[in-house]
Amino acid sequence: MQQVSTITKSTEPISTSRMSRRFQDRLVVFLFLLPALILFLIFVIYPIFHSVYYSMFDWNGLGKATDFVGLQNFQTILNDKVFIKAVGNVLLLIVMSLGIQLPLAMMLAVLVGRDLPGRGFFRTIFFLPYVLAEVNVGVMWLLLYNADPDRGFINAILVQLGAEPVAWMGNMKVVLIAVFITLTWKFFGFHMLLYLAGLQNIPKEIEEAATIDGANGFQSFVNITLPLLGSPIRTSVYMSVLGSIQQFILVWIMTHGGPVNASETMATYMYRFGFVRFQLGYGSAVAIYMFIFCLIFSLIYNYFTQKPDYLTGL
């Protein structure tokens, strides 16, 4: 493409047919981008700015928004203990995902490895929960978590082992952990899949060479395999953090954010104010806080993942 255009520039004056070629190219660019651009501007970009406007009103969605309150919504949110709790829960979900879920996925990916007979079979099974609808997963786990050991499988096992049954969905201390277990059940296969694909790209010979040089399995994993998996790890961290910030469906199905807001996330908080209580101005302000969270995370992520140019030569 570039070659073609440099030729036209360097040779004799542009002929009419080449003019039309250039015009055709412009037309293709314009027409091909148009549908994506229109949809993207109407449904993604415009709503963001639109919600900035509404976030400064006290508005219940009926009629026009007239009750201008400035930045008061933003202040009220920060003073609401429930919102702070929701942010804390999201941060906790992020920490648990990065600290438990992703290492677990990595461990399993290494266990499945490159050449284990039955590799494809395990991958298929482990990835299955990811494709199931979150609603269905939530309802399935609600059955398992039933507080009554005569009905809930998990408590039945606990009782068999001689422990006390736990009210998983009703106990403020354990509810978030219970939700996290369900999240892990659903999503570890996705992260494992990314790591497996990355492992496939690392030539076996590199690790063999390290073994010959006297590295043990753990050393060669930490010093060779892990750095070479940089790209899938970065992706899975990104997906995991963004997924935690916006976690809604599983929490809503399983706990509605309860009991007493113990499993509230920012998304359930926004949904509650926007679509249950119809405080649309307030809800918009929550949405903007969530945008800011996503933005800050993306900036931090970019800062750490894009090596400065002078390092790439090393």
Binding site: V28, P35, F40, P47, L111, M140, W185, L194
Partner: protein, 293 residues
């Protein structure tokens, strides 16, 4: 002594080689059981009467009791939801493949002023997932409704919103695939008198079929499983999709665990069947983005 070492040495060597394998299979099997337990209990539950569900909640249903399943399959409600889900899924997927295919081609293969800037704009969409943007999007839909474009309480509205929020990710994935197609092909086509559109239509699209089917399969899953967009947009229960219906069904029949199990099982089966056929496409779509990032 010497004889024992010679006879035992190979065996112990073999054992030492076998041990890691054994350990690997042991751990993987345990994980597999953990994956299956919720599914198996769901299947058992769906084949029980409500009474059996309370007396023997997690045992094999003996004898299996098909009434819940036939009851659900015998109502219009389930089939209508299935129909709505299929309609939305096909609409969103066709839209994503069409819209993202065109845009990704331009970003991968054409040069124009502001290309990087525009590509970064689309990339920004990755930072704002639909769950974060749902309330602002709802305002816009209401505005469009006021203008006479019916987006609320229509399946078209669900399709448009799902489609718009699938653009960013899929343009990035498809652009990666399209860039991998050798530049020489394009030069040759241009020398032979193709214009950009001919090249796209006659050469790139046939070559990109695996990429498009990967993106299509992935979008089908996302659209099929989506709850939030239908939940916010659809009030009319005649328009409910399967996940939305499942949620409402759970609220309505909260205490009838056997019936709920049957409903969840039935609404999971299409996904599982689809997954068995399209696993390769789904996996290649997901990993394509990750390995280049």
């Amino acid at each position: 002594m010497a004889t024992t070492t010679t006879t035992f040495a190979p065996i112990s060597n073999k054992l030492r080689r076998m041990m890691p394998r054994f350990f690997q299979y042991l751990v993987l099997t345990v994980v597999m059981i953990v994956i299956f337990v919720p599914l198996v209990i769901l299947i058992f539950g769906s084949l029980k009467t409500t009474g059996m569900m309370y007396s023997h909640p997690y045992t094999f249903p003996n004898p299996p009791h098909w009434d819940n399943i036939t009851y659900i399959l015998g109502t219009d409600v389930f089939w209508r939801m299935l129909q709505n889900s299929i309609f939305v899924m096909l609409g969103t997927t066709a839209g994503v493949v069409f819209v993202c295919g065109l845009a990704a081609f331009v970003f991968a293969r054409m040069d124009f002023r502001g290309k990087n800037w525009l590509f970064n704009l689309f990339n920004m969409g990755l930072m704002f997932p639909i769950n974060v943007a749902i309330l602002p999007v709802y305002f816009v839909l209401r505005q469009m409704n006021d203008m006479g474009i019916h987006m609320i309480d229509t399946l078209l509205g669900v399709i448009m919103v799902q489609l718009a929020f699938q653009i960013s990710g899929n343009v990035v994935i498809l652009r990666g695939f399209f860039t991998a197609i050798p530049a020489e092909l394009q030069d040759a086509a241009y020398i032979d008198g193709c214009n950009a559109f001919d090249f796209f239509w006659r050469i790139l699209l046939p070559l990109a079929r695996p990429a498009l089917s990967a993106v299509g399969a992935l979008t089908m899953i996302v659209s099929w499983n989506d709850l939030l967009v239908p939940l916010v947009i659809l009030n009319n229960d005649k328009l409910w999709t399967l996940p939305l219906g499942t949620m409402q069904f759970q609220g309505q029949y909260g205490s009838d665990l056997a019936l709920i199990s049957a409903f969840v099982l039935l609404s999971s089966i299409p996904t599982i069947i689809f997954y068995m056929f399209a696993e390769r496409q789904i996996v290649s779509g997901l990993t394509a983005g990750a390995l280049k990032g």
